[in-house]
Symmetry: C2
């Protein structure tokens, strides 16, 4: 069985875990705190980031999008990146939107300041950054609402990696009680559909000592 | 013919232009200043970023990695992402390294502070950020040296998207005179090989009014 080096509250690790579960690819989880810069882990990934996927034969793949594209190639079913070049382009555009733009404008500020700084013990949260992240989150939730108003799922008719990438980011913010779902009913409806997928349940069961998620966090009827 | 909305000193646009040229896919260039937030451009890409690839039939693909994967699907030859799942994973890992990590740790600081702030007229360059970017660049050049010491090109035996992504980032820094090539001989040797490719020449011919590149910039023997 393959091994995934991960951290339970990393959105990028959650993305890979959900993607692998949707593909029905079993994987053993190894918890890693990448900021500890463990020498053996650095040999697996010079970037010192999780997730890292390691095959039985030692083949090592860091970086969440490289991992998901790889898993999609070794297990094409169900198709989670799209079935035509145009569909795949739309899925990849939106996946990058959430992995890069959303992370940069929202997750990095909120999760970085409130959670990572405490875990790494490297300073006090910057409240201006947290405020900026919260403001940007409103715009992104509106974009999710706009997309799901026109489409069944974010990238089109079918559930895809774009939904997984978006839900992975939102789930760590929701763990911190940061998502005002009542102000974004379309995004809430979409997230509710994702939460009800069996592949999402193990993610919601994860607990980070010292941080208690709000009551609604793992609740399907939030 | 397809159209590419681009900015000449955007590393991500350069990446797509080189990739398309290596695939021998002709494209018409449309210069765009994304910070002007032109309404018609925002309809093409809600993220308000370049590059955006538009096909003759109106199909619109924003985001440099989504575009390159798309071009690789409609024109598989020459194979620039790799020929096996493992090779493709390695190419994609390193492409993300330069697009995300290198951009975040180096380009954003130097190019963002020295160039974009002047073009956008939104403030004075932050010298602490520029210093941090310069320091991080040393480490990244050493990583390029380490990779090319073990391999012919960054991701393996063959020239790939990883080389293109890395060279695109470095080329905009080199335009600003920010790369101390004499201190990184292996990286210099690798960059020299890229500069001599015919697909790289049009990139080096681009000029941004108000910013004069150093004498060695377009020189193959630098």
């Amino acid at each position: 069985m393959a091994t995934l080096y991960h951290h339970p509250l990393s959105p990028f690790c959650r993305k890979v875990r959900i993607f692998a579960a949707e593909k029905r690819l079993p994987v053993a989880l190894e918890m890693e705190m990448p900021w500890a810069r463990r020498a053996e882990f650095l040999r697996l990934n010079a970037a010192a980031t999780v997730p890292v996927w390691v095959e039985d034969d030692g083949t090592t793949i860091p970086e969440s999008s490289a991992i998901c594209e790889y898993l999609n190639e070794i297990e094409p079913m169900p198709p989670l990146i799209g079935e035509t070049p145009h569909q795949r382009a739309e899925t990849r555009r939106l996946t990058a939107w959430f992995d890069i733009k959303f992370y940069d404008e929202v997750t990095r500020y909120i999760h970085g300041e409130r959670l990572l700084k405490r875990l790494r013990r490297d300073g006090e949260p910057n409240s201006a950054a947290i405020r900026a992240g919260r403001q940007n989150l409103v715009t992104h939730l509106a974009y999710i609402g706009w997309l799901t108003d026109q489409r069944n799922w974010l990238a089109g008719d079918d559930f895809s990696l774009a939904d997984i990438a978006a839900a992975a980011q939102l789930s760590v913010l929701d763990y911190l009680g940061e998502v005002k779902w009542e102000e974004a009913p379309e995004a809430k409806d979409w997230y509710q559909r994702i939460k009800s997928r069996p592949t999402f349940r193990p993610i919601l069961a994860d607990v980070q000592p010292g941080f208690t998620p709000p009551a609604h966090y793992a609740d399907l009827d939030f």
